[in-house]
Amino acid sequence: MINPLRSEAEAYRFLLLTVGYFAAIAIAALTLGKWAGLTMFALLTLAGLVYVTRGRRPELPRQAVASRRGRENERRILVIANETVGGGPLREEIRRRSEGYDEKVLVISPALNSPLRHWASDEDGARVQAQARLDTSLTRLREAGVDAKGEVGDAEPLQAMEDALRLFGADEIIISTHPEGRSHWLERGIVDSARERFAVPITHVVVDLEAEPEDVG
């Protein structure tokens, strides 16, 4: 949905559109009568509503990645994973990616929440659950010899990645999801959207928890 008051320039454009909108209604009403004015009002309002609700802003320009903060041989990997955060394939991918480097891994576990609880700002439970998943994952990564730390992120995975990138300055991102057909993230095109938005290499790892139930804490 387009927000017409996001910046001064957009607010100014919105003002000009408002002038045109009311001028058209007033001219129709004054020259052709009140029913013409009402018709013009209905048509323009409908067109405006369709534009505002269905119009999509072009994707944000590729985000400048925060400059490297580490040493030359350091590899910074941002991992975004939800219920699959403790999965074996993900741990293996992190190990493979960081081989030969002094790795710094930041695992982000989005605080997934129901829409009702989201709108009620009731996210404490979701954050506690995300933290529990994260703790399990970090323990397993420690056992696998990976230097990792973790944070609970925004419920919206793209937002969580963007927030983390601003502070972490990752060299690459690993997105871990359920297999096709069971993953809400894949259904929503999160991986493709992330590739469009972020100017860092992105690897998609599929974790089938049903195939490895013992890995999930």
């Binding site: 001064e8 320039a9 009311f22 323990t139 990976v146 609970v152 937002q159 927030d163």
Partner: protein
């Protein structure tokens, strides 16, 4: 290799979005509440207008100075243009342009407010003169109060502009009052069209 979860005690850390700057988001929420406020006044206005059953509007013997208010509308719209010009100027590093734009915006806004006060003194009816008088003064007065607030914000921005604040990279102190000022102008377009024209 050390592994550690970030230990945190107490309530969860506040999660701040990076998509919308917090000050911009604050202004948007404020404007949303303002829309609801104006909406309640418009509801009262249209209610009075519908239930009065008057064939002509405004009802006899009221008369509104449509032409003077129209000129005032042009003055306010011009002030939005100068506001936009001011911000575009500082974005291009033109400090003098920003200062001139802000001074002109404040001057035009002040002219609008003084003209409205003059209109009140000569319009020939008072807020207690029936439902029409109440809703007319309620709507235009509410808008006038917002113009006053906008002028206060713009005055601060103007003073800061002349004290050397704001750069092409950092000009939020002009941007936020600018959004507010355009919003005030949008509301006036709605008020002028519905109260004076239709």
């Amino acid at each position: 290799m050390a592994v550690h979860a970030e230990a945190h005690h107490g309530p969860p850390i506040a999660n701040q979005s990076s998509r919308v700057d917090s000050s911009t988001l604050g202004m948007l929420l404020f404007i949303a509440s303002e829309i609801m406020l104006f909406g309640s006044f418009f509801t009262a206005y249209f209610f009075v207008r519908v239930v009065s059953g008057a064939t002509a509007w405004p009802p006899h013997p009221f008369h509104l100075p449509v032409f003077v208010a129209g000129v005032n509308t042009i003055i306010l719209l011009t002030s939005s243009f100068t506001m936009h010009w001011s911000l575009q100027a500082i974005k291009r590093g033109n400090r003098a342009g920003m200062q001139a734009g802000l001074v002109l915006t404040v001057a035009l806004g002040l002219t609008f407010l003084l003209t409205q006060m003059r209109e009140y003194s000569r319009v020939g009816f008072a807020p207690h003169d029936g439902g029409f008088g109440s809703t007319f003064y309620g709507l235009t007065g509410l808008h006038g109060a917002h113009v006053f607030v906008g002028l206060t914000l713009l005055t601060f921005a103007t003073v800061r502009a002349f004290r050397g604040h704001f750069t092409p990279e950092s000009h939020r102190g002009v941007e936020i009052p600018g959004i507010y000022w355009h919003f005030v102008d949008v509301m006036w377009i709605v008020v002028y069209t519905t109260v004076y024209i239709l």
